[in-house]
């Protein structure tokens, strides 16, 4: 029982760790807490569903394509939602943003096929924006970090609602190359193929991320941008592109977590709500700046949850509470742990 609980906790913990990693990648580079990370992963799972089930592509084609599309989606979200806010001179992303929003609304059926109406609204909003921009005496203020974090919350809602509109509220099942239900026994512990993929894939991703940040030019450029965007720019790095790439990378890690989650349970647009909260708790537990910390935090959280649920009487009721108690405890002991870092001037 004990070993089984530990192994099951680690399997769940790996999922938390992946989400935590995705959040940490973005936080490390831009100090933004990305609350849309879970929904990006959920949309990743839906993309896989679209390719595998609706279009009937084989796994060998569909899975790489899913990862590519997820990365593109992550980069697109950054380009459309955060960059126009960060650098107000960027008109094109803003127009694209509106076009994209209406395209999603159109797909979801909220906007009638009356395209002229949509176009009229886009033009009008654009006119309002240009008017405000041209005539206002003082330039519109750039958003604070908090403002950018709130934008990710908005993005979360766009993705959640968009997925609900496009794929409906019904529950689907993602085809999976490995079974989560055909178990085999190792010693006294039951495992499934999906567990092995979860362990193997997570370790591989963690290793690759470590090597990427340590040894590649792009990885080093990301670290440089995190430390000092201005100096990085002087060295010939374009922070805007780095930020977009960061989101693509995080979306890739998230999509892997989304696929693993959707392989073990029905797919609907609530898929990643709980894993996101737990992943966030794991990231806080491990330290928002540390990749290794995210992994440790995720695994610890998974194992603690599993043991609490397994051994305490009525423990299954308090399992989820444990995650939030951990956040509170960490914040009590280290009040500057989560957001305090960005008040410290980095050199």
């Amino acid at each position: 029982m004990f070993l089984q609980l530990i192994v099951m906790g680690l399997a769940t913990g790996c999922l938390y760790a992946l989400i935590a990693l995705a959040m940490v990648i973005i936080y490390k580079t831009s100090e933004i807490l990305n609350f849309s990370q879970g929904e990006l992963a959920m949309v990743g799972a839906y993309i896989a569903f679209l390719l595998l089930d609706t279009l009937g592509l084989p796994f060998a084609v569909a899975l790489p394509l899913t990862f590519l599309l997820s990365m593109a989606l992550g980069a697109l979200c950054e380009l459309l939602f955060l960059q126009p806010a960060r650098e107000r001179a960027r008109v094109i992303p803003l127009i694209l943003l509106w076009a994209f929003t209406f395209f999603v609304l159109y797909l979801a059926g909220f906007v009638e096929p009356g395209v002229p109406v949509s176009l009229a609204v886009i033009v009008l909003v654009f006119a309002v924006w240009m008017t405000a921009e041209t005539f206002s005496k003082r330039p519109l203020r750039k958003p604070t970090l908090l403002g950018l974090i709130i934008i990710t919350l908005g993005l979360e809602m766009v993705l959640y609602g968009g997925a609900g509109g496009i794929w409906g509220a019904g529950q689907e099942r993602l085809p999976s190359p490995v079974s989560d239900t055909a178990g085999f026994e190792v010693g006294q512990v039951y495992l499934s193929g999906l567990d092995l993929i979860t362990f193997g894939g997570s370790v591989l991703i963690m290793l690759l991320l470590f090597l990427f940040f340590r040894y590649t030019r792009l990885g080093v450029a990301m670290k440089a941008t995190a430390q000092n965007p201005l100096a990085a720019r002087l060295m010939g790095i374009r922070p805007a592109r780095i930020y977009s790439f960061t989101w693509a990378l995080a979306a890739l890690v998230g999509a892997f977590a989304g696929l693993l989650t959707a392989s073990a349970q029905p797919l609907d647009n609530n898929l990643m709500m709980e894993p996101l909260l737990k992943g966030f708790a794991a990231a806080v537990l491990g330290g928002m700046h540390s990749l290794a910390g995210a992994v440790l935090g995720g695994c610890l959280l998974g194992v603690i949850e599993s043991l609490v649920a397994g051994y305490l009487p009525d423990g299954t009721q308090y399992k989820s509470t444990v995650a939030f108690m951990i956040i509170i405890l960490v914040l009590c002991i280290r009040p500057s742990g989560l957001l305090g870092r960005h008040f410290v001037k980095k050199v």
Binding site: V125, S136, T181, Y190, M273, E274, A309, K319
Partner: protein, 417 residues
């Protein structure tokens, strides 16, 4: 100056957005029918009882989770809308067409309350039909009672609807208590399995089932081997299932959401734990459950209180045509299944009572007509009976099992006393 201009333009843009995207929530009866709210010139005395009834329309309200985590159950309201369209196409009732106003509450009680007040006071609906959820329903129960607005068929099996007499509230859904009794009796008497454990949702729904199962087992001198709770938000049930497995039960009763049932059955298969799973009507959509469990739902026994979606029952066939004609037209992604059909079953007695109440319809006549229903069996439920002191319309369920992805009847209707 320019700031003002900006503000004005912003407001204009917002106005265009609002008018440009009409809310899809109103399920219109035939499009050529103009909406007529309550006639204002009626005398004050009969006004309240006749609210929502005009010469050619009866306004009916329903709240429904069209968005949010419970959106799966939004199909209930769309089912009622299709049912009303079917009735209207047949000529309506005493020359009047039924018009259903659906309001999305996202399964959030505060929103339900706002929606119900809006429907009752601004739109002036005659009655409420259906309405998903125990929590949302509890939020408006007292308000509707105070306003004396009839409410027929809450889409929840909570026993709270009928534990205190309310003249205007008619419940159809057999209570979760009755369902749990039926399941335990089946396990003990028919399946001959007396080692029983339970996986229940940690809220009113799950706890009502848990207590009823405990009580029923106690009558037979037995008790549950394990009681494991699931939180609504849980996404991982590994420890839960391991706990169940440790107790070595022959059967496990499920009082959870479809998602959790799927995860539990899948995890159990991985752990080589193979009890007989039995579940409530909440999980009785066999094709759906078969799909989301990748076939592991095979052999699961469940109870249900309406005819099966793929049965040959003539009314089911008729409703299925209404689904194809109106349901799919309104929403091309609509699925024929338990939830959509539930929209019909909760509205059937209302429609029957409106017919019985005659052309001079008001709320009191509707209540009397409902009370006169005695073993009414022309719908897809069973022996609906109300009376001057009886507000629980149906107390019968039957058991079915999942065979090759389809529901197959195991028993005939069972009345739970």
């Amino acid at each position: 100056m320019t700031r003002k201009l900006t503000i004005i333009l912003c407001i204009l843009a917002a106005a265009m957005l609002v008018t440009g995207c009409p809310p899809k929530e109103e399920a219109e009866a035939p499009a050529e029918e103009p909406v007529k709210p309550a006639e204002p010139e009626q005398p004050a005395e009969t006004d309240a009882a006749k609210t929502g009834v005009t010469d050619d329309t009866i306004l009916v309200g329903q709240w429904s989770p069209q968005t949010g985590p419970a959106a799966l159950w939004g199909a209930v309201a769309r089912g009622t809308a299709a049912y009303f369209e079917m009735i209207n196409a047949e000529g309506g009732i005493h020359g009047r067409k039924l018009k259903l106003l659906i309001r999305d509450d996202s399964y959030q009680a505060p929103k339900t309350k706002a929606a119900v007040m809006e429907l009752a006071e601004k739109e002036g609906v005659f009655a409420f039909v259906g309405g998903v959820g125990t929590g949302p329903g509890m939020a408006v129960k007292d308000y509707l009672k105070e306003k004396k607005i009839p409410w027929i068929g809450p889409a929840s099996g909570s026993s709270k609807w009928t534990e205190e007499f309310n003249r205007y509230l008619f419940s159809l859904y057999p209570t979760y208590t009755d369902e749990a009794k039926a399941l335990v009796r089946y396990l003990l008497e028919t399946a001959k399995k007396d080692k029983i454990a339970m996986l229940y949702q940690n809220d009113d729904y799950g706890k009502e089932g848990l207590e009823a199962a405990r009580a029923e087992l106690k009558k037979h001198g037995k008790e549950l081997l394990a009681e494991v709770s699931v939180e609504m938000t849980d996404a991982d049930l590994k420890s839960h299932v391991l706990k169940l497995k440790q107790a070595k039960p022959q059967a496990v009763i499920l009082f959870v959401l479809p998602k959790h049932a799927a995860i539990a059955v899948g995890t159990a298969a991985k752990l080589k734990f193979k009890p007989l799973w039995v579940s409530t009507s909440t999980l009785s959509d066999a094709p759906l459950m078969h799909k989301i469990t990748k076939g592991l739902w095979e052999g699961v026994v469940f109870d249900t209180f309406l005819e099966l979606p793929d049965s040959d029952h003539p009314r089911v066939k008729k409703y299925r045509e209404a689904y194809e004609k109106y349901g799919l037209k309104a929403n091309p992604k609509e699925q024929w299944g338990l939830f959509f059909m539930a929209g019909f079953v909760f509205a059937e007695p209302f429609v029957e009572a409106v017919k019985k109440a005659g052309p001079d319809l008001d709320r009191e006549k509707l209540v009397e007509a409902l009370e006169s229903l005695d073993k009414w069996d022309e719908g897809i439920g069973h022996n609906i009976t109300f009376g001057p002191k009886r507000r629980q319309g149906q107390k019968a369920v039957f058991l079915a099992t999942c065979k090759k992805g389809k529901a197959v009847k195991l028993t005939d209707w069972i009345e739970i006393e």
